[in-house]
Subunit: 333 residues, 2 copies
DNA sequence: CTGTTAGCGCATTCAG
DNA sequence: CTGAATGCGCTAACAG
């Protein structure tokens, strides 16, 4: 008999007990005499029996797998979240089905439904924009969903993030205190609430507190990649800007390199603050000052929250904000 | 009735056919009259019926999910492979269960068995070292396994890679042609066959062809991270080395920055070739010359190969080598 | 504490 | 071309 095909019946027969008893020891049910438990365990080990999780899932209506919807694993921001998610998931005996969505709305609902058909016990969603259609799908699906490092501006779903507003505000304040008069705000698409409704708001708040007038022409909305900010440099310099708050590290690296290539000295002639503290921020020269975004922890806490929710435990707060810090490296004075 | 709980029986009743017929239209079985097929399809759409993949898996013994064992999603090298894997997987209607192994041998067998219990139809394995224990587990598991961007020195498993020997040899030759007399080979652990049995061999071949004597003291085995090569710089310079072939981009970035911090000019005073052409190689200054490693394609082809194998199609070659190229950016003359 | 029994939702014979 | 019946491997009452 093939190792793959050993069933609970086989070990029951071999152990001279009923399959129900085997099932009990498998599931740690206490209602089984230690002696028979040992007997069964021995047979299980001897036969190298491995429970069929699919059958289990069908019978119990629990698959111990969660779906993870991610824009792109290749993006270090989300990959770091994913790593935190997987570590905690496996700690709680869950597997993750990972699905790339490219942040594309139609792909997102497609993979969501695919995940649901696989009967996942829960879903961790990562994405830069959540529209009504998606919210509706979330609601209609009867699985629990948690957002990781992603915001829903109306908080219709539990989520784990940092306080983006406050973080960006702090950075902007530092730049103001360093004497900069014109500070750019450079982000990925402003259609993304995380940029428009959080980070930009933090930027504006800092300006306001310091009696700076908000100047729309100092706000740069890009597609978020390295080249887009690299190409922005001339336009930025023409406006006598001397510092920038940037919302992702690739963007910041592009800006930095663009500046350097034009012989503008960072931080002497231009200061940069970035947002996610990924490896990139330490690889470039000068190294980038940044928010110390605890990406791994955001993923980990999101997954932990999901286990609680799936387990029907009480959770006091469904919108969790983790602590961040600011690290000043070489791109700021 | 809850959308999640609509079964094949419900649509059968509603369609006034048997569940067998519904099953047939679901599976594209041609033995069903177009008229009844339409009737059933309409009901399916109306009720928003979504087949339960778990039940399907139990009945058909196919789960349309494959396991993906990865050292660390956070590593851009493997993340790029994973992205290629997922894209092709979803193209063929498979989902991927992603499991991080940290390249740890005991974790690897643990997640392997976990994946097997989930009845995955196949496995893509990524890892820097495959030992006999693991090979044995591979053999005992009756699922098909394909290696992506990872080598088994005895080729006991189908795999997709590039020709590391030839690639490194080409790089080394260029460095030799540029007049360098002492060229370092800097890699992650030499316990990893990919470094010891492939890349180092390529390095040696180039030396030999040019009548250079191989000097063991020019070979640096590190733990593979940025800091480890950064810290190596003094030791390297003390040996009058003027160029290096580096086996991963983080390592190369560390070397580059270490050199730059000591005011050694790259490429004028020191040339660097790196291996994986990840974003990093373009973010640092000067940008790193590299093998143009088609990471996404390696993952994609590995997944495609797996689908063929799972489908019992004939595959002529089970050890696939993809084409690479060399791109000379700013770290070489 | 242990065994018997009935599904979980579907694919798949086997008849017709 | 369609339906009835069986079973995939396991969990979860229900009895005892």
């Amino acid at each position: 008999m093939n190792k793959q095909n050993i069933t609970i019946y086989d070990v029951a027969r071999e152990s001279k007990v009923s399959m129900a008893t085997v099932s009990r020891v498998l599931n740690g049910n206490s209602n089984v005499r230690p002696a028979t438990k040992n007997k069964v365990m021995n047979v299980i080990n001897k036969m190298e029996y491995r429970p069929n999780a699919v059958a289990r899932g069908l019978a119990s209506k629990k698959t111990t797998t969660v779906g993870v919807i991610i824009p792109d694993v290749t993006d270090e921001y989300f990959a770091s979240l994913a790593r935190g998610i997987d570590d905690i998931a496996s700690m709680y005996k869950y597997n993750i089905i990972l699905a790339n969505s490219d942040d594309d709305s139609s792909k997102q609902v497609k993979v969501l439904n695919n995940l649901l058909s696989k009967q996942v016990d829960g879903i961790i969603f990562m994405g830069n924009e959540i529209n009504d259609k998606l919210r509706q799908e979330f609601k209609n699906s009867n699985v629990h969903i948690v957002l990781a490092g992603s915001v829903d501006e109306i908080n219709s779903v539990p989520s784990v993030n940092i306080d983006y507003i406050s973080a960006v505000k702090t950075e902007t304040n530092k730049l103001i205190n360093n004497g900069n008069k014109k500070i750019a705000f450079i982000s990925g698409s402003l259609n993304q609430p995380i940029n428009l409704d959080y980070r930009l708001v933090g930027y504006k708040k800092a300006l306001q507190e310091n009696n700076y007038v908000f100047d729309k022409s100092l706000v740069f909305s890009t597609n978020g990649n390295y080249q887009s900010s690299y190409n922005l440099v001339n336009s930025i310099l023409s406006k006598n800007i001397t510092a920038a708050v940037v919302t992702n590290d690739e963007l910041a690296a592009g800006l930095l390199n663009g500046l350097t290539d034009l012989n503008i000295k960072v931080p002497d002639d231009f200061e940069i603050f970035t947002s996610n503290d990924t490896k990139i921020s330490r690889l470039v020269r000068p190294q980038l000052s940044s928010i110390t975004h605890p990406l791994y922890d955001v993923g980990a806490v999101a997954m932990r929250l999901l286990t609680k929710i799936m387990n029907n435990e009480d959770v006091d707060k469904k919108q969790i904000l983790l602590n961040y810090d600011i690290v000043e490296r070489q791109s700021t004075k």
